[in-house]
């Protein structure tokens, strides 16, 4: 199995993710596209020393962008929403 640092790309800090964190102990990450939920779960648990209740993932398709007549595509990526056990928390902003 890959080391956790390669599975978890970065925390996602947005308005929505901040809200989820505050209301439902859900933390949002950008993760490796090939990682599955089990890998993500263990990576988060090992990296942040917390207990994960469950993981939800989704593939985010990159936007098609146009510059003049040329079309380009932003890369696709995988988003993971990790729900922690009650009482656990992650201060992932320190390194961000």
């Amino acid at each position: 199995m890959k080391e956790p640092q390669r599975i978890i790309r970065r925390p996602l800090v947005t308005e929505k993710s901040t809200l989820q964190k505050e209301e439902g102990r859900q933390y949002v990450f950008e993760v490796d596209r090939n990682a599955n939920k089990i890998e993500i779960r263990s990576a988060v648990e090992r990296l942040f020393k917390v207990k994960v209740n469950h993981v939800r993932t989704m593939n985010v398709l990159g936007k098609i962008k146009r510059l003049g007549r040329r079309y380009g595509k932003r890369p696709d990526w995988k988003k993971a929403i990790v729900t922690l056990r009650e009482g656990d928390r992650i201060d992932f902003f320190e390194g961000a």
Binding site: L12, V13, T14, E15, S17, T18, F93
Partner: protein
């Protein structure tokens, strides 16, 4: 707000200010609100950034701003509350700022020393107005004559004498090599005037027109121009023409030519008056110098460093201006400004001391400056500068020089007051 004042010395004070926590919190809150409304952070719409994220990005900025704002707001009130009039910029030492805790800072400022000047009535001064001597008038007249003298070519060729003006061509050689800069054609030299190359002038005495001669001149070690110092230079000099100075005769005609003088008698009388006035001013200055010296000697006190510094700076810039008017740029003289300031330090210190003493006496005696006196002073400045008084006044007002002018008048008045009360022998 809690203010304590600590006296470090007679001229230094440390002001400690404590600002209560509510005020600190309020300031921090409002600033975050302000920042939050405008901050653009990825992932958030402007104005929707949560507080903890804002803090991460703007903590140092907010801290600095709040400290600055709090100090700016409270510093003047703290001073006026404790009746401190600083003469220097404060050295501020801010404490730690934390929301919800009182904020402390200290400001160290220099103040004018509290002086008590005594025994300034009936100072013993020495000095008498000098009588005008006949010779002084004579020399004045002679100067005028010299000023209006004309150069005339001598009718008959004769050797050069002391006091002649000669027109020469010359070429300088050092160690048998011609010097580039040592060449001159049709140069007018006053023999014995001491303005040309030293030593060369005297050796030209006795030359006749059209005569060429090789003259050797030794330049002393301490000669100003380093390249030539301590060297022997030979000059090939050719005298082209000898001119004599012809002084105009002292008569009524001469007096009329000079201006509005009706006759020679009239001119003499005017000169006499002029000399008299100068002597009076000299005496005045001498007596006032004595007053100042005596007062400074009788009272020792500490002088705020910043005032001295400022005064020294002013003196330096004065010098710069004066040199500039002669076409000399200070930078080209290889004298660093700092060195100059150091040199002026002592003078500046004396001036500051004088000013402090006189100011104290003025307040003790209730001497003040009225608006009319300012007006009067402006008028006389305007006259000297050949400007309209309105122009001068506007200049002084826009440049904020009126207070300076006022203190000038105040010190003058105080000095005159002291002079009036002094014992002159």
């Amino acid at each position: 707000m809690n203010i304590t004042v600590e006296e470090i010395s007679s001229i230094k004070k440390k002001v400690q200010v404590e600002i209560p926590d509510e005020q600190v919190t309020k300031e921090v809150e409002t600033l975050y609100k302000e920042v939050g409304a405008k901050a653009k952070i990825k992932g958030f719409r402007p104005g929707k950034v949560p507080r903890n994220i804002l803090e991460r990005y703007f903590k140092d900025y907010v801290k600095g701003e709040v400290i600055q704002k709090l100090i700016q707001e409270t510093y003047p009130t703290a001073l006026s509350e404790k009746n401190i009039h600083p003469v220097s910029l404060p050295v501020i030492d801010p404490g730690e700022l934390e929301s919800g805790k009182p904020f402390q800072y200290s400001a160290t400022v220099e103040v004018k020393p509290e002086l008590k000047i005594e025994n300034y009535i009936g100072l013993k001064l020495e000095g008498k107005k000098e009588e005008i001597k006949e010779e002084e008038l004579e020399s004045r007249l002679k100067d005028l004559q010299n000023l209006h003298a004309q150069l005339k070519t001598i009718p008959q060729p004769r050797p050069v004498r002391h006091g002649d003006y000669v027109i020469i061509d010359y070429e300088a050689r050092m160690e048998n090599k011609p010097l580039e800069e040592g060449k001159g054609i049709d140069v007018t030299v006053e023999v014995g005037g001491g303005r040309f190359i030293p030593g060369l002038e005297d050796k030209m005495i006795g030359l006749t027109p059209e005569e060429e001669k090789e003259i050797e001149v030794f330049f002393p070690e301490d000669y100003g121009y380093k390249k030539l110092a301590g060297k022997t230079i030979s000059f090939l000099v050719k005298v082209k023409e000898i001119k004599e100075k012809v002084l105009p005769p002292l008569d009524d005609e001469f007096a009329k030519d000079l201006g509005d003088y009706a006759s020679l008698e009239d001119l003499k009388r005017k000169l006499q008056e002029e000399i008299e006035k100068e002597k009076e001013m000299m005496l005045d200055r001498k007596l006032k110098d004595q007053i100042i010296d005596q007062l400074i000697q009788a009272h020792s006190f500490e002088v705020p460093e910043s005032m001295v510094e400022e005064q020294a700076k002013a003196l330096v810039s004065d010098t710069q201006l004066r040199l500039a008017s002669q076409g000399i740029v200070l930078k080209n003289l290889n004298i660093p400004e700092e060195k100059l300031q150091e040199d002026y330090r002592e003078v500046a210190q004396k001036q500051v001391k004088t000013f402090l003493i006189l100011e104290t006496i003025a307040s003790q005696e209730g001497i003040t400056v009225t608006d009319e006196e300012v007006e009067e002073r402006l008028r006389s400045i305007a006259e000297r500068a050949h400007q309209k008084i309105e122009v001068v006044k506007r200049y002084y007002e826009t440049n904020g020089l009126i207070p300076e002018l006022k203190t000038g008048i105040l010190t003058d008045k105080t000095l005159n007051f002291l002079l009036g009360k002094a014992n002159i022998s």
